[in-house]
Amino acid sequence: MIPPETHTHDPISHDTNSHRSGEPTTVSATGRPPEEERDRPDVSALGVREGAGHAVDVAGLHAYYGDQHAIRGIDLTFPANEVTAIIGPSGCGKSTMVRCINRMHEEIPGARAEGSVKLDDLDIYGPGVDVTSVRRMIGMVFQKPNPFPTMSIFDNVAAGLKLTGVKRDNLRESVHRALRAVGLWGEVKNRLSEPGTGLSGGQQQRLCIARTIAVEPEVILMDEPCSALDPIATLRVEELIDELKERYTIVIVTHNMQQAARVANSTVFMLDGEVVEHAPTSQVFTNPRDERTERYVTGKFG
């Protein structure tokens, strides 16, 4: 077996042996690449976080696309520092609901939402609340990786920070930490000025996650973040999600039930714009209370 290369994780050094391609190609017996060749996500690189995490409390949420009533009254709590998965058949409203949490739903012409969504005691639908502010605190990772095509890797991660006028030196520091946190630093540290779109799909998605956490949100929403990725890249993102929950409250929409089983503390099953069941993940998959849930998770429909 070829001896694995040793990496130094010192950001100052210029490691000439750094990987050029995205995902490593050698696979060990466990199905994961040899430890020493990968950059493990290191969320502690982000520094110490003051205080406990924050829960999201949805109450009486209704959402419309014009006259179409897409979300029909949802009451849910997403516990702090946990991963909650949302599963359900296509069209059940999972993406819509999640987009109501960071108020992206209303960006669609003709779309509106009613009800309350509280981050701790702050209702994001309260009167006079600035949407920009909400989105700063509730970040989103999209289904298709979408780094800004005209920006370099560095600028992509820094994009959100530049909005608040962070100084140049602090920018470098924050970008470095975010890339360390998602486990991308080793792979990109020598090409920070290259376009963000030059990376592989899995790397791009982790770049987008780095971009999201660089602005230090409280909650991260993920809308089917792995559906455009290959299995190895998917595993790396899931590994990252596992680390991220130490620090953030995470809501992940997924159509992949195995994924929910792997990463989520609790799972929500949705159908036709309503919540059918919300329970610890193991319970949802092994002993669901509702008959519809049982039918879905056993593959009888959807």
């Binding site: 205080g51 924050h54 701790d120 609340v129 600035d130 920009t132 502010s133 700063r136």
Partner: protein, 289 residues
């Protein structure tokens, strides 16, 4: 420790956002002001000239006394642009057909496309010069004649027709063509029985837009038709046209003629607007998106 407030958005950012949005709205308003002003003055200065005599008498060429109306100019424009359309529209649609049905993405077809696009950027006065050199100086069929003006205008209109037609023809679903071909129809029948009828409204729209463009041109006519007063309907002779008539009347020190220019300009713009409206109405009735 529970959150007590949302992440602050600096007032500077809010202010910049408001200012920039205001600027963009202002920019849009500024873009519309000239249109409003031009239309306003056209009506304000031109409407009073529009009477029966205006449309039924020809310009006399007199400086003093009765200067006459613009009848021959209107007729001349209609005839010359009409002939130009007869030339440019069939040829334009033909070239577009070549591009969509036969040439497609072949090298030669792309070259043709490229040059047609380049043609749209050629100043109209250059087309006038071309026709002057080739047709007028050689005294082919007379000196300044109406039909030579039509040739110059057709050169202008051609790229418009080709590009608009190509867009429309590409919109005809390939499924339709394939269904006809699968029934054993030869290509020329597919074109004449399926493609052209389906695309007809769109082709008409594109052609009408080209006509609207041709009606407003002055420079090419200066070198090919020159100007004439009196009543000529003979395309083989010098003719009068609205744009050239207006051009001459503007430069005249006689304010009565200047007023006639305003009336003629209003007439011209109204004619062009009518063609545009018809084009849009036809587009709306198209069976494809």
């Amino acid at each position: 420790m529970s959150l007590t407030e949302f992440a602050p958005v600096s007032p500077a950012r809010r202010r910049t956002d408001r200012i920039m949005r205001g600027l963009l709205m202002a920019g849009t308003a500024v873009a519309l002001i000239p249109l409003i002003l031009v239309l306003y003055y056209l009506i304000y200065r031109g409407a009073s000239s529009l009477n029966g005599a205006f449309f039924t008498t020809d310009p006399t060429g007199n400086f003093f006394g009765n200067q006459g109306g613009v009848r021959s100019a209107i007729l001349g424009s209609l005839e010359i642009v009409g002939l130009a359309s007869l030339i440019a529209i069939p040829i334009g649609i033909g070239v577009a057909l070549y591009l969509t049905e036969y040439g497609k993405q072949a090298r030669f077809a792309n070259v043709v496309r490229y040059f047609v696009d380049v043609m749209t950027g050629v100043p109209s006065i250059v087309f006038g010069l071309f026709v002057y050199i080739v047709l007028v100086t050689s005294h082919v069929g007379g000196d300044f004649t109406g039909w030579k003006g039509s040739v110059a205008l057709s050169l202008l209109m051609l790229p418009v027709v080709v590009r608009a037609s190509e867009v429309v023809l590409l919109l005809v679903p390939s499924g339709l063509r394939e269904a006809a071909l699968a029934l054993g129809a030869p290509r020329w029948r597919v074109v004449s029985r399926v493609v052209l009828p389906t695309a007809l409204p769109g082709l008409l729209t594109g052609s009408l837009l080209a006509v609207a463009r041709g009606m407003g041109e002055t420079a090419p006519l200066l070198f090919t038709v020159s100007v004439a007063f009196g009543a000529t309907a003979d395309l083989g002779a010098q003719m009068n046209t609205l744009p050239v008539q207006i051009y001459n009347d503007i430069s005249s020190p006689n304010s009565a003629l200047n007023n006639r220019a305003w009336g003629a300009a209003l007439t011209l713009v109204l004619l062009i607007l009518i063609v545009n409206l018809v084009a849009r109405a036809v587009a709306r009735r198209s069976r494809m998106a």
